[in-house]
Symmetry: D2
Subunit: 336 residues, 4 copies
């Protein structure tokens, strides 16, 4: 299932070392100003090559194949294409039959019976470039509705002081190891009344979207796991005539937005590709030792931030269109 | 959106104080033995009336309206009906126009422009009885495939010693307050190869399912948020000829099951209905003080466990059927 | 797949001789006036017992289980329940292992491996009562948008003069036979701009909806099969300043409504249950002769009309909500 | 909604005069042999340039961007790209603001508020090349299951003798006019038991798929509209120990395949683009006369055949995978 969303449907395709990756956005309203200039900057934030990331050199240049005419969307599908350029598939020949610990090699083989082993194929983080491109289209729609999204890394290897993040990453890299982290994304300007109970609650959609990013092992909204340690009198958000007095809920109650800021945090596991030797087996079940060189991020949390922003944008634009279908704006005016 | 699943689709309906709640299960394979006796015990575990739960007295007797013939499913929709009995709607008259803190009152009104205020209407935890009934059908299918699910409360108000759970709940209740907790659900016997990347990853589906349960504010798989504090060499699960040497991944890699136990934890917020006075507003925006009596669980984590088990069952049966569609069993035989 | 629609989703359940049939309507906007009085009259039009139909005596009384509060929809699922009353399952004992010609007995067994043989089980026309009930909800929404639907029988056994319809049916009945016919449904007041290319075109959705009614073997829009015999200059609908000059298109161009009347015709096959002896086999493959007595309509086209109206209503309300999601009303104002 | 199918999902994109058209196939099982050589011949059958078709010269060369590794599908999305080459957008400048009779110009503008007018943009028949490419992938799967599909034109402008088809088309072209026709597609080797009642019946899915092809105004299965003129004793397909004695049903009963040949006929309207002068209006509502030159097929039924074959393939592969999910093959063995 490579399609996300019900109203603003994004289908991604492509493997790490195939000819191209891309996305088709179906359900974007017509009349939205859109050009490559709206998408490329977000792709540039995600792309490899930064000081804390993999040295794979991909320009990640996006081409809009359809759905835009004279600078505005037409309401028809928007196909986005990114050619793979810096493909050194030979780097992966030695790994063809070996299950890399912490990767999807084993589980993909169990599911599909075969796999494109080059760079992880479809399970590669490279697929997320297509999500970011689609997310940029979503953000163009959200921007018109006054909704903005921003993310950041909040913790690296248990350290929450941003000034020490780079040290933690460098130290891990020097050991031939990697480290995990916690990323946060927030959405401001979200009107009250978005989200669709009971199974497509806004928080449920966000949790599914975030946990669907490779390397994410936990998701929390607002107070999150902290709420499990509080009492009701501490955790409830009281109201007065001016509105809510706190935001433990993270902007969502009963699966529907409250008009407050939406706050989401993600647990990002340490990059599984490490130079340190690890025990594993090959496809014949024979024991092997593996040490993974090549081009890998020692802490994937940083490059994951724009992906998480894109996914939050996709969830919110879907909820926004859902709300329009059922007349939320009218309903919203009837309430407070 | 009141339907869950793509292959094993469950649609729930009903309000807390309406005539009935229920579910329609569409996509259950034919030939599965099923009777009320398979469903009622799970409903009984969830139903109100236990020592740590609300005294609302609901028999929660389920009726199978369709889809079963001579003790076996027929492949057609299975409709499950539970009549509401102990409905004291008058209890809620005073709350008709007031937004209860921590509840969905305000957000539902913002979305729909009007709402059934009695007992929270559709946003009530009562809706989860329908999920449990549907989950019981899922478990009947999973049982035939050797998959079992079990859950438990792991922490109450920050306390992880089960012997102290009741004390924490009683103390909160005595204060007119409530407490949060952490629940855990596990699935054993899950074959390797279940799950559908990239957007319906098994962990993504689980996260969405769990966060879609009211009161859940966080979800983690395997090491979860703990993984964010580890290094790759600590978090990776190595393998030898006998299989995986650890299960930090919680049974899922790349969104696909590994054949290990699936481990999920949920952060459950404290019940928002508390007797302690709280500040809020009514639908006219006027400030009010509210103290919620009535029949409420001081710690909802306990009654949430069977709901979380049901949701995990729904996710797994969906993945199981998806795997059959695409020949996973064949593929699985080709792998290890 | 027992769910119809993407925005206004209807899930039906129930077998001909089970405890009940019903439907869950998910995605109905809030604030629509709705009561049993809006649904029952449409059910009464479909129900058995008329002069040209089966004598099975079903009251078809519908109960609204959820989704309506104080006379208005709440935006939550509307569950509709119809108990089966006049169930004489024993009538079908002799048919338990025999494949009735023209019925779904053989194909259901091939698909599901087993089946509820009583009255055709799920494949019975009785299921359509649930569709009519759901269609009545759709019509309540459409009525608010100025859209109305009406159907009629246009031809019976090749005869197009309505005064001769009853004669044709009586004659067939007297022979122990049945006859086919052509039904027509029309929708007036449909605004231009409804429908979603390319795969959910309005006409595609209508065709799927109509062909999904048992006994329907053909569907045509506007000029239909007649258009295949015309030239472009005859079939094109020209325009002048006052609008279209003809309606060969049947109100749909490129899968999108034009604002003209929508015209749909259905080929309805003769009722397969006939008293005349027919050759068939049983589940063991042994040859049998069968003569079907019992309670059957000699021409099903009449009772199919309200079902076709209901399905057209479901398609149109779905398109209406889709249009709202993507701002059709705004777009519509920009055009003519 | 530009996605077709639930199990084998095809999303198409692209405009007639944009940079490219294409499709993403999601849900193709892994291990299917696939290369450009399986797709290109079907595209060549559809492409413009034949004696009875438009002279637009498109090579329609397809590129496989993903989902195939070492000659076999991997189970991941298969993206197919066809660049537009012979784009003479200037041909359409004069038509920018005029509604061509019989085309989607007016309805698209009503829906979207704006449109890419060049060659009909998204509503162009050019989009069907993407369907044919995706259909070729479906046929590769079906071929492995012993299912084959073939189509033909059965009638042109009311003439059913194939030897006179070309005369009819030439005569229409000489008049500056166009003609309609009837196409037929058949599927052989379809096992009994495919199809999913009640709303995704095999015939309902086929009808929706066929009516979703531009220019199709009617669909019938088996005896089709002819069945409306028969009696039950004529139309029922009797059985003996060797199987069915006739195939009036067209291979489908109760929405499920019977194992007989599936027979579908389509009413194709005359090409709306004609040289003869026609009355119409422009976007300002001013009356205009229009005569459409350019590159158009005088009878679109011929080029529509491979598109109809592709759509039938998409429906059948979807039903085949659905059957696998729910164990049809097992059930099938239990029946006859």
């Amino acid at each position: 299932m490579n399609t996300f969303g019900r109203f603003f449907r994004v289908t991604t395709f492509g493997e790490s070392h195939g000819p191209a990756i891309g996305a088709v956005v179906d359900g974007c309203p017509s009349g939205v100003p859109l050009s490559v200039a709206d998408i490329q900057p977000l792709l540039d934030r995600r792309k490899p090559g930064g000081p804390l990331s993999s040295p794979r050199a991909e320009a990640d240049e996006v081409e809009i194949l359809s759905g835009v005419f004279e600078g505005l969307t037409t309401g028809t599908p928007i196909a986005l294409l990114i050619r793979n350029r810096d493909v050194r598939s030979g780097d992966y020949d030695a790994l063809r039959d070996i299950f890399r610990p912490g990767h999807a090699d084993y589980s993909y083989l169990m599911k599909y019976g075969r796999r494109d082993h080059r760079g992880g194929g479809r399970s590669s983080g490279r697929e997320t470039a297509a999500r970011v491109a689609a997310g940029a289209v979503a953000m163009a729609v959200l921007g018109g509705a006054g909704i903005s999204i921003a993310g950041s890394v909040r913790e690296v290897h248990g350290v929450s002081d941003p000034e020490r993040f780079e040290d933690e990453v460098r130290a891990a890299q020097a050991r031939g190891d990697s480290v995990g982290g916690i990323a946060e994304v927030r959405a401001a300007g979200v009107p009250a009344g978005l989200g669709s109970p009971v199974f497509d609650k806004l928080d449920a959609a966000i949790a599914g979207a975030m946990m669907g990013i490779g390397a994410v092992k936990g998701v929390e909204i607002g107070e999150g796991f902290g709420a499990a340690r509080l009492s009701g009198s501490e955790n409830n958000d009281e109201m007065d005539a001016a509105g809510f007095l706190s935001n433990h809920a993270g902007g969502i109650l009963g699966g529907i937005s409250t008009g407050q800021e939406i706050v989401v945090r993600l647990a990002v596991k340490p990059t599984p590709s490490i130079a340190l030797p690890q025990r594993t087996v090959d496809v014949r079940g024979e024991e092997r030792e593996i040490s993974i060189g090549g081009r890998h991020d020692p802490c994937i949390a940083f490059r994951l931030v724009p992906v998480a922003e894109a996914m939050l944008a996709l969830v919110l634009v879907d909820a926004l269109l859902e709300g329009r279908a059922y007349g939320r704006s009218v309903a919203g005016q009837m309430g407070r």
